[in-house]
Symmetry: C2
Subunit: 302 residues, 2 copies
């Protein structure tokens, strides 16, 4: 398989599999979520299970057209119950992907994180992996974590890296290049995460992460811009060609991707990592495109 370098290539890949992934959506009543789901169903890549309060459905389109045989609606008027039932379906193998509809994140995460009936295997952590398609970059750029863990411990960083590697590999990237992001390439022992980076580099050299290339600390120029990076005269095997950026904190990752969405025409998909099955946790304000890319990403990973 060629590596998937864009969201269009991701859609093509999923279509070529000729297999519908079963997506359960907790309270899919808002129109952006419904439109994104309908697109995935019409593309032939998804079978949708909409669990929620049917009376509040915003998108008349769903029922105006002849109802698709690949969209199944289950009326569960209480949002909390809908979240629990959605998680149960994924846990029991009745669905491949969980997606958040119009539910408070707290409510859905409570069901996902439930020790007995949730989706997080013991010892795993929950984090977020985004994939950015930036017009001026030559491939998808995966990154973690802009949303879940404010300031990860070294153990959490290591797991975030392993999850992100698995994601990149599912996109056909045989030897992902990973940059540990900082403001410069110079290590500063006074900064806590520098010790984490040193530890990660040591483990990488000992083979802990498998067939990948990791380097850091690196700044953004060295990580993703061959021209600007070269001027710095720093030898790094990822120079301008990173597949994955690991940020020191979510205060660092979040403005980075949002700036690129506002000003560089970037599009983003993203999923929760660490769970037994992919979880799509988009926010109400996200575009239909963005929600669709997240669904597609989850389908590729399930």
């Amino acid at each position: 398989m060629d590596s998937i370098a864009s969201f269009a290539a991701l859609s093509d890949h999923l279509k070529s599999l000729n297999c519908r992934k079963r997506i359960v959506v907790a309270n899919a009543v808002d129109s952006h979520t419904l439109d994104a789901i309908i697109r995935a169903v019409e593309m032939g890549i998804a079978e949708a299970y909409l669990i929620g309060d049917v009376a509040s459905i915003e998108s008349p389109r769903l029922f105006e057209n002849r109802p698709s045989p690949h969209i199944h609606v289950v009326d569960v008027p209480d949002v909390r119950d809908a979240a629990i039932e959605s998680v149960r379906m994924v846990r029991k193998g009745e669905a491949d992907v969980l997606m958040k509809g119009l539910v408070n994140t707290d409510v859905l995460l409570k069901a996902v994180l439930d020790k007995k009936n949730g989706l997080l295997p013991p010892g795993n952590i929950l984090s977020f992996c985004g994939a950015l398609e930036i017009p001026r970059y030559h491939k998808l750029l995966f990154f973690s974590d802009p949303a879940v863990i404010p300031s990860p411990s070294v153990e959490q960083r290591i797991m975030m890296i392993k999850y992100s590697i698995r994601t990149a590999q599912k996109f056909g990237i045989t030897q992902p290049k990973i940059a540990l992001i900082h403001a410069t390439e110079k290590s500063n022992p006074k900064i806590q995460y520098m010790q984490d980076y040193a530890e990660i580099m040591k483990k990488w050299r000992m083979g802990e992460f498998g067939d990948v290339i990791i380097d850091g600390p690196l700044d953004i120029f060295l990580a993703v811009d061959k021209e600007r990076g070269s001027i710095k005269n720093v030898a790094t095997p990822v120079l301008g060609d990173s597949d994955i950026l690991i940020f020191p904190s979510f205060e660092s990752a979040n403005p980075f991707y949002k700036g690129l969405m506002c000003f560089a025409g970037a599009e983003m998909g993203g999923i929760l990592q660490g769970t037994s099955k992919p979880v799509v946790l988009t926010s109400r304000s996200e575009s239909i495109d963005s929600k669709f890319y997240s669904i597609a990403m989850a389908c590729a990973l399930s």
Copy 2:
């Protein structure tokens, strides 16, 4: 005066003043620094004093052409001595702006921070203010701090904000709008800088910052993107129209601006703030344009 919304407008403004600012450069021997200085001299906005090791000058252009009467070269072969002499000239009022040439940052900063003979008034802090010109943004976007203070205290944040306000005002922005950046608009008491933000908002309401608008925590969408920000339905007086972004840490500010330079066609100028006169501290890898914008910014502030 109209507010200065681009680097072209900044050049026009400086030309209209019809006054050369005196810039002393510590060891201006590398060609990017020299080319940027020559551009400022030829534009009629700068009188240059090049203090350093004449034998190592890289740019033959300086001497090939008829030497400009506005470029003064003083041979100080030892780089450390050149740094000290440059700082002395600014301190004594013999120059308006200090600029770094081919000197290690540590060496120049040591001279700048010297308690007896330096440029930092007692009680002031050193920080960095950048100005970004982003093709898809409608004005210059000032931000702090991507380079100097890794993780500021609340007192340092307050001073960074005051310095940045003064900078924006020098650009003719009568009532600057300032966003305190975070991953979301939701406050999270577990994160240290949230308490700082609350304190800053309190002081702003009490009038401590003068005629400005401050809001935070805000994410990048709310701060600089009216469309994406509006979808979030959060009431904020800076919505999509920030003049200044204050980042929680340099690990947060640095990837933001570098991402925009790589992928959004952004150009940047920047200066050190807190010193008695503006200090231009660009790195060797920066473009001539970028160095020129920093010089122009310093001239506007001196």
